[in-house]
Amino acid sequence: MSETTAAARVEQALEACARTPAASAYFVHRLDAQARAQALELDTRRTTGDPTGALAGTPVVVKDNLAIAGVVPTAASRARMTEAVACAHACVVGRLVAAGAIPIATTNMNELAYGFTGENAWHGDVPNPRDETRMSGGSSSGSAAAVASGLVALALGTDTNGSVRVPAALCGIWGYRPSPGVVPSEGIVPLAPTLDVAGPLARTARDLMLAASILAGFEHPAGTSGTIPPRVAVARVGDDRMTTNVRAAVDRISRALGAREIVTIPAAGLTAASQIITAVEGARTQRAILKTRPEEIGATVRRRLLAGALVPAAAYDRALELRDRAHREMREHLADFDIVVAPATPCSAPERGAQQVEFDGIAEPTNAALGRYTSPFSLTGCAVVVVPVMDVGPLPVGVQLVAKPGDDALAIRAACAIEDALLGGPRSPE
């Protein structure tokens, strides 16, 4: 049992937030009073010998599209600021709180979770703590930034097409997208309900494993080594374009896991299907706002949602048909492997405000580029952990460990094995 009280840990975290100028951009709601009250209650339980949980007194932050009792989950949108306060925690928040975690803030994000850039029309952009001239990535931008800057050890985000994995990669931390159904999704402000999942972001793979065990009920082999599964391959996804530092990171992680084979993931159409499903479902979930007060959604997100409202229903149906087929085919592609290794993003963090990124002599829209390697695995329901690689260039890059749907524990244990092999144990990337 830690001798530091929960109250002291919360005060320490709140003071760190106050000392970090950029932190104001990371948060939507500060929860100082609630956090102090929860800490006092937890310390009281501790003195009376009552159980306090595996995360007892750990300050955490929660993406603003996850319900916290007594707080309006705005998804960082002006359109939701007048919604009712949540009467209960989102299921994932409830599980962390039951384990003793103490939410100290809700975090900034791409509005309504639609985007990979960390930009927000109402709360400002989230700068990357590794280099504030760079994007944090999104949409779980504030969650990733708060963890990467050391303000908290653990955060909750959500991932539709890569919204945990992209900011984890760009900010140099660990992130986990669960297989659908492994972690409950009740209490998420929806973007695309058939793709949305909640997942943790953490400074160490061991913290990620602990959070995953609490959120999903895995066995938590605390204090044990990670496990490298026997059958690991490198994924070649689509056109396989990436910057040299990203390729170096993929090579390093592949070597650490002993990958000997290459598996080709035919991404043709998968990213397109993700775009259509997200746009159409996003327009449906926000339809009432789009019809009555569209000006309360920032221009970029509003226009993307409006475009989604105009997509023919048949196109959505065909995207779902392709998703069903891709699910089957991905299982076949991964049948002979426990883990496949793939880049999380094709490049490190772009400059803030960049509309396009260019590599291999080809320019493409920033948002589309950042999600090109994450969305195919969302669409096909895979479990994915992002591993941060810090020393292949001036900025971190992320590598995905992809497991078949339901094989979440394999991916997380492999991540711990990499932490052991490359960092010598559970140590925060610096």
């Binding site: 397109a272 299907a273 775009q275 569209p294 392709l322």
Partner: protein, 59 residues
């Protein structure tokens, strides 16, 4: 019940966007329609990519 949907089309200028928007009862400003045209064009291109992938899989 299924929502009304506009016909599929290959082009999406601002006028076309406004026509489609009226059909699905989602009003928008001309300024939005102009910008939505570009996003819609991208989504219609994505729809064609999905069709191509499905056709490829059928072969």
């Amino acid at each position: 019940m299924a929502e009304p949907v506009p016909p599929a089309g290959a082009t999406s200028d601002a006028d076309d966007v406004q026509r489609r928007a009226r059909m699905v009862d989602v009003p928008m400003t001309d300024a939005d329609a102009h910008e939505v045209a570009g996003w819609l064009e991208g989504l219609l291109a994505a729809a064609r990519a999905v069709d191509a992938a499905l056709a490829l899989g059928d072969r």
